[in-house]
Symmetry: C2
Subunit: 140 residues, 2 copies
């Protein structure tokens, strides 16, 4: 239950905890896959929660601003996914090309590479994205 902490974050920025925001958060909390706006919309609908797709988008936008979710832009999907930060640290993902399952990779091998790139390019590196696609054990 991370609701109290979130409520605080909302209030601190003049925002309100609403039933729709609660519904989105609760779904993200109980789902162990990064979800897209459409998936959230459809899942909540199945659960008879009345919410508009636009509201899902706006809720995710707010949660991102508050730093409560991470936005994932997985390779070649053409949509954005979101997962709760809650507990998890920076990590990356692998997605099955057949069934679409997304699995956390609990590693980031890019610390040293980032330093190297900064030296070589003179860029100041801010973010990176790293994702893998392939075949999951069941789809091989």
């Amino acid at each position: 239950m991370l609701e109290p902490a979130i409520k605080k974050g909302l209030r601190a920025t003049g925002r309100r905890m609403t039933r729709t925001r609660q519904a989105v958060l609760a779904l993200l909390e109980r789902t162990h896959q990064p979800l897209s706006a459409t998936e959230i919309f459809e899942q909540l609908h199945q659960e008879k929660v009345s919410i508009d797709l636009v509201t899902v988008y706006r809720t995710l936008h707010v949660l991102k601003e508050l730093g409560l979710v991470v936005q994932l832009d997985l390779h070649q999907e053409g949509l954005l996914r979101y997962e709760l930060k809650e507990g998890r640290t920076h990590h990356h993902h692998i997605r099955c090309q057949v069934c679409g399952r997304i699995v956390d990779l609990l590693l980031c091998p890019l610390k040293k590479v980032t330093k190297l790139i900064e030296r070589q390019t003179q860029f100041i590196v801010d973010e990176h994205t790293l994702e893998f696609t392939g075949l999951c054990p069941e789809c091989q």
Copy 2:
């Protein structure tokens, strides 16, 4: 001038070398940045080359099928970019958040990591994407 080789590839699949395909290829050849369909369309228009945006999309699709271009799906851009394979080997990119400049990173640090992931997840890894964003020397 890679035109002869490309013409061969086109012919081998029952396709034709047309003035629009030549124009797109020539632009990709002389531009040292990955280009989006819209950018190609606008640049060619400025050069008084008559071409429809749809044709640009279709041309890029063909070039990708023939393995002549790489399609890049850079983080948070919401569009696809293309660069000629010609000469270049597998590599990654860094993009400046301010001016949008994209620079080649002539490295790929992921061979060992891929093996590790395959062992840990039981996936068969097929592809990966890796990109960096930051501030280029001029925009710092």
